[in-house]
Amino acid sequence: MRLYEDLRGLQRRLTIIQAVVIGAMVLVTGYFWHLQVLRGRYYRELAENNRLRTVPIPAPRGPLFDRSGRILAENRSSFNVVLTTEHLRHRDESLRHLRQLLDIDVEAVQQRLNTKGPKFRSVVVKADASEGDVATVEARRLERPEMSVEVVPLRSYPLAEAAAHSLGHVGEITDRQMEHAAFEGIEAGTVVGQAGLELEYNRQLMGRDGVRRIVVNSRGVEVAEAEREAPVDGPSAQVSLDIELQQAFEEAMAGEAGSVVVLEPETGEVLAYLSNPAYDPNAFSLGIEPELWAHLNKDPEKPLINRPIQGTYPPGSTFKILNALAALQENVIARNTRFHCPGYLAVYGTVFRCHKEEGHGTLNLERAIALSCNVYFYNVGIRLEIERLSRYAKMMGFAAKSGVDLPHEVSGLFQDPEWKQRALKTRWYPSETVSVSIGQAMSVTPMQMARVAAVVANGGRLVRPHFMRKIGGQPVNTEHPKDLGFKPSVVDAVREAMLTAVREGTGQRAKLLGLAVGGKTGSAQVVTSARLASDKKARKNQPHGWFIFFAPARGGKPAVAGAVLVEHGVAGGQSAAPVVGRALARYHGVPAIGPGMTPPPDTIPSPPQPEAVPVAFVPDDPPTPAAPSPAPPPP
């Protein structure tokens, strides 16, 4: 049996081969033990990360209502075409295909894809898509699983332009905002407030986003929903605006650039707020088109500027109200103190002119305010001196933010010796005090002047203007106005003078039948007098027209105090006062009866009822009706 002899040598080698194979199998099995049993938990987590994605469900922002519960901002359901960006390998190809199907801006989408954010997210390719677009995308669900349609709450502002600068607008959070503490913890792609009340109260209005945990396949396409946590809607909020008053002023200001601020004098609640020209905040809700953005930014009229709190202008003659209040309170003048106006005042080696060349003659405080006599207030200011003028101006909110609940307010400027020393390193000249007396050498916002009007209207208290009344049923901004310590007689005297100014003075175009309106006109020079004289026609050289005013409560509608500025409106009596006249006439349903204001003849009601005449703004005012007692006009 040679054969079996031979096989014995083979057997040994065969055993070695077998041992190698068994060894390899055992090794491999051991490695599976390591992978599956020892490290199983780790790999299970990796598998879960592979398959589960967290997708936020945007919470609708709280709706905004006006003081009577009418809608200012709401959410409507809108369709977005979105691209899931987990796999960018075919991004360009997908985008090309999408552009063929829908009319999209590929560059803008690329830009949005490049902003930082979580690995898995949906990028909006087309916001507020039409039903046709939705059908187009849905029909290609299988061949193009990376495209989908989602329903999102879209912010919508029914008033559009009319309330753009107060309500503001919303938009996707910007990279810069993401680094800001106020937006901490908010994820990329979230819609946040970008301006106005939407920005100021962003956190409170936002609500809490819900979360969807979805199962995705290897292409990043959702195949099932694992978990859902419903979003919590933002709380509804009540804003102090009065839509009717707002619209009345919008209509009255149509075509003019400028500002309107109307406050409720008792509380400081903003009843109407207008910055012209405006923009449509709805355009931002969709993610504004770059062209529109560039257009808004380049517009010489600057529609994005929030004029009432960002535009600063010299107050001009409206400052006389402040001058008068200070002088009366400091007993520098009494309400019947008279000065003579020959048309100019020569003092400190300079001749200061009145706007009326032949002069107003001798006149008391009431006539001086009603006719806006410069010489009278030169005299008052010289006697008050700059220190007291400055103190009162700052007491009434000049050179300081009003604290209104809007972002990016500016404070304006008040020049006084201290400021001059600090900023210009020069001393104060007495002649400068003369300019300050009639509202030069300072700049104020319309909001600041509206506060001054409110001080007169409410008997001497400084309000902090605000819009927000309640958020989620909880009252906010409930602090009381600050009492400035004016004697009642002081405020009464100025208030009556302002009534006279509208009844028979420079503010007559705000005169209404059956409603006692008080006011003070002013004009803010834009260029020097010499320059104006050289180019009288250019609009950009024309002064701005001011009108600060108040009117009583009537028929359930609140008392109002405010300021209107019409840019390049020349004189406030010509430009700003008629705005107030028209707006209040429409709001209260009474005819405007001032010169140049032509009410429809058949709407003229019977003569004013006596009850309309007393101006009772302040509950704790002495109940004695303040009978107007105009001093006899100077001869």
Partner: protein, 364 residues
Amino acid sequence: MAIDRRLLHNIDWSMLLTSLLIAGIGVATIVSATMNSRYSGNYVKQLYAIGLGLVALLLTVSIDYRRLVDRAHLLYVPAMAALVAVLLFAPRIAGTKRWFVIAGFQIQPSEFAKLVAVLFVAKVFAESKKDSLGLRDLLWPGVAVGLMAVLIAAEPDLGTAFTLVPMFLAVAFLAGLRMKAILALAAGGLVVGALSWTFALKDYQKQRITSFIDPGADPRGAGYQKIQSEIAVGSGGLAGKGYQKGTQSQLGYLPARWTDFIFSVLAEENGFLGVVVVLGLYMFVLWRSFETAGMARDRVGVFLATAVASLLAFQVVYNVAMVAGLVPVKGLPLPLMSYGGSSVLSSLMAVGLILNVRMRRFVN
């Protein structure tokens, strides 16, 4: 060629049934791996392939293995011709020329060439009468098998070409290859490896190797398969996620999940327990194969059974190690389990060769 009743009686039924059990587990895993894709009908094709494979196995068993080995050089010629033809005439599928397409069926000649190589190697070394072999004795058989491997590698199908090497070496070792020669081969292998890295390997082949060393370097590209397979295997844990419930496989994170990476699906859905059971079944088949080599009645039988067993063992170990992320990814199916008609057919024929040797151990 009728089969003797006595021979039928001597068939190793346990090995045959175990092989069929593995193939059955393969079908079930294919069902699960394809259920959410447009390939969900593939298991039917696999069943047909197994049926066809059984017929081929019967044919293999019916011819005396000595006659098969004796004519191995005659089979070598058409096998080489087929490999050349596939390079010349086959359509390019997924960038490779591996398959003839005949009447809708894809036929992979390299799978059958492997078996021819097995017969050829068994013949050459069984007929060698020397007690110990040097490198010079490997030259001619090495050139013959090497040519075959080169043709297969040119398709390119590096995985299949690569399986010929350990089979060849195992049989040479069995025939008495000296230790010195083995060391010289190892050194030569390193040199060839370095040279081929520089000159011969295609970029995707290099990428597979670099991505094996550092899969994180390109997790979406070449490293993806290794990472995803590891996750699938590891996340299966002890008991698995349940049949048809593997997230990695069902959601499509795992490429090639019903072909080369089918074991990954099995490991994910049936856990370590499933892995142990299936590897145990493979161990049984391999043990019976080597046992057959040990009890064969002649040199030819010993060499043939060893050649087949080595071939199967290497494929199983490499594929499973690859699925676990232990070795670089190569296009290498798991015998009996992976989807693919040619692979199933050649695997069952390989089993047939073992059965052939075993059942004829008493017959003269």
